[in-house]
Symmetry: D2
């Protein structure tokens, strides 16, 4: 087998980083040239995309990263970071506990939303449908798969998510300046309009729908969108872990101890015989 003749050096290969003693290059650039000259957001772009962004793209990415840093200790991820710290693990373990919960349901909406926008775009490009029809067709397809929520729209807590309009405003400005196409902003707004018409009440774009527009405009692959959300939310996880660490609480569960939980199982019963 080919695999069996693989040498250990070949086993791990990467186009991200080249390293020799005394030398570190990311995507070809020497680390010492990057430090102090590119923003953290530009570095995120370089490592994940292979090239440095132009300044307008870097600013848009930065805005999206800023927007999603935290949604408070009522989110499972942030609660996990706080609970973990009170259990006596390291701050990195607490952050990992938070991030580990950003799964399909909690952190995955951005990724799903970008796939949804791409599918609409594909109906326009390949199917030659006009925008409104492409949106209607893709929403029907989603409903046909039994998906109850359109990813990126509506929020259980916020009737109107304050982060979305501000992000769209920045995309519009970038589109006006020719930095991005503005196509995905138009798609997202068409989805919003269609949803309002279908439901008879607004189901406004949420943080995932809006960062999804940014990421799609910038050309990020859907899988990276969840990763970008993770980077952003890691900031909140760190801040909450550190705040909890300073509280000195120990072994703190989700609710006050005297409340515990509701038990719904069988009533007390005896073990009649040895079961080994």
């Amino acid at each position: 087998m080919t695999r069996d003749r693989t040498t250990p050096q070949d086993w791990w290969s990467t186009a991200i980083i080249d390293m020799q003693p005394g030398m570190i290059r990311y995507r070809g650039y020497a680390v010492e040239e990057l430090i102090g000259r590119v923003s953290f957001a530009a570095m995120v772009y370089l490592l994940t995309r292979g090239e440095l962004p132009d300044p307008a793209a870097a600013r848009l990415l930065e805005a999206a990263l800023v927007a999603a840093v935290d949604h408070g200790p009522q989110a499972p991820s942030i609660a996990a970071a706080r609970m973990a710290i009170t259990c006596g693990v390291g701050i990195n373990n607490a952050m990992a506990s938070a991030i580990n919960m950003l799964g399909d349901v909690h952190g995955g909406a951005g990724e799903q939303c970008v796939r949804f926008y791409h599918a609409i775009a594909a109906r326009m490009d390949d199917g030659r449908l006009p925008l409104a029809e492409a949106v209607a067709a893709e929403m029907a397809a989603l409903a046909g798969q039994g998906t109850r929520h359109v990813p990126g729209f509506g929020h259980r807590f916020h009737p109107r998510d304050p982060r979305a309009p501000r992000l769209l405003e920045l995309v519009d400005a970038a589109a006006a300046a020719g930095a991005v196409s503005g196509r995905f902003a138009a798609i997202a707004r068409a989805v919003e309009a269609r949803l309002a018409a279908d439901k008879g009440r607004p189901i406004p774009m949420n943080i995932d729908g809006a960062t999804g527009v940014v990421f799609a405009e910038l050309g990020f692959a859907p899988e990276l969108c969840r990763g970008l959300f993770v980077l952003s939310r890691s900031v909140g996880a760190l801040a909450h872990a550190f705040e909890e660490l300073n509280s000195g609480e120990r072994n703190k569960g989700p609710i006050p101890r005297h409340l515990i939980w509701t038990y719904t199982g069988p009533p007390p019963r005896a073990l009649t015989e040895e079961k080994k």
Copy 2:
């Protein structure tokens, strides 16, 4: 007990985020005012410190975050992210796997280094020792505790870490402009000089020693320093996880399959009787 009368609302409390339906404020600032107006690094500062940094502080923090994004798949954390992705978990789980490994030995040197710098500063302030004597005293104390490596100095792979001099150059510039005191840069250089004199060869500052200078100059608590390193390295974890995802590899272990490992245990033996 006081605890028992805690209401569920009091159970989680935070000064980081305030939220009402339609409203999100971080440290008092409305999220929609922050988006597009503060950098991602400034947002990290705001959430962890409570106030927005001045521009010079934000740029220094940004430089440190840029510097530590990746050290390749030979680092346990990055290898873990890549291995995890080939196991079929989500990209957030792969990133969590990486971050979960940034413990005392892998990610903790920055935190330990800042504590070390603080201890030297305390010997200068409280003990009224001059810099060189404070360094010598603290290094002796470290050696007395059996610590073999001075945290933040020397590197197993890089004879001279290319990231450190560039970061110190930026700290010097900020100190010259009056943005930071430059005190911790001086402490770190005195440690470097003392180490070279003691060992008879250079043991240069590494990434942890240099980001430790940045973080100490900016006033970050030691525990946050590991957290900032985690944020930075998360970028590498994401990039490597995504690259591995695109490779299509499945269930990939640390070394090629035909090499396996060395077995050092007992020779084959028979189980002579049932052991239940």
Copy 3:
């Protein structure tokens, strides 16, 4: 909303455990009656299924749990546990790192295999197909979905997995004694026969195929099958983490440092302008 009127006690509810100060009951049984009277495997069954198993079922479950404890440090999960320990995290964090990798590709084959057996059984029951035809139809369906490997059959390393025949032998004995139906053993053997006929060479049942037979005979839901594998493999993760801890190694990556990796990215290039 109903949800909004939920009290904190109702927020978490469980049929698994009831607790009052001084009293702990699992599924109705007082913990002090269970300790020393039921096996660890029986406890696993009680907590996950709601009832204590009969002794034959407990023995079969125990055999499956014993079978999957370890597959060595070349498995991503076990390598992760060892690497994590050298990074200075707690032994629980190292075990979590291992378990976190037992995703769809690494730990999920048992779950997929039980679903596959159930689908064949459904074709026999609902579709009234004889065994061989049900197997052929379900394998065709699997191939039609683009699945290249039949879950539970074939192994990249073992031409014949030594764990599978022994487990099947125990299932046969339990079926002969009337403790289980033996139906899923028959299904698995029919799959094995069909695979050999299709490929012209044996693709024997592996550990996942064999534990899948045990779990399906015992009536475990597919999702629990991955969980049972996790419990089993956690033993190996613990043993390897502890062995590595005793080695005293620090910050140990997947391959020796001098081998590093292959770099496949762009050649060295200069950063021509500031990108902030």
Copy 4:
């Protein structure tokens, strides 16, 4: 350097498992001989200790593993498993989230308790102190280090932990049969007596104090004790994750949404200038 000449095979070495195509041996025993003949608890012992336990030791270990499986969703670990499942991650990721929280404060008491028992034993052996004096000396040493809780004694919820007396009863029976020395049971009871005398009220042995007696009698190293607790609690994590999975809840935080949390930070304030 010696390390640099390490071959990839030498990089990972283990005395736990030997493997060749078609052959798997744990500590020298062929896996197919172990399956169906040793209990799961005996397998835990073999992998972590290197030898199979005698039947009395296996039964004691099994009792300790049975005793600690679950303490309900008010424990951070179990809450984490349940919350993680509602976020859409795999059942292994949910279990890892639970286990990752079993740190020094939540899961570490058993390990700390065994170290404490060993320290008392050392004062008897090396310091030639009688039991009561060795206990008093070690408790004074603990208090001198600022440790407020004696690990393994007292419980925030249970005035009397129902698991402890039953485990001690089994240790006593094993000691009477000559299977264990009973020394650590005597030490633990002397600690309990001393605590009651010091505090003027009972501070009874808890689950960690009692499993600590079992593990110390069986000769487990302290670090393994946390690992054994992790194995045990993983059963509860699995059961709760599966129960929550069947509830169909999505993205479920620690408390009902309308309760959220208390905000203690700065009042609303405006961002006066761009901060980039």
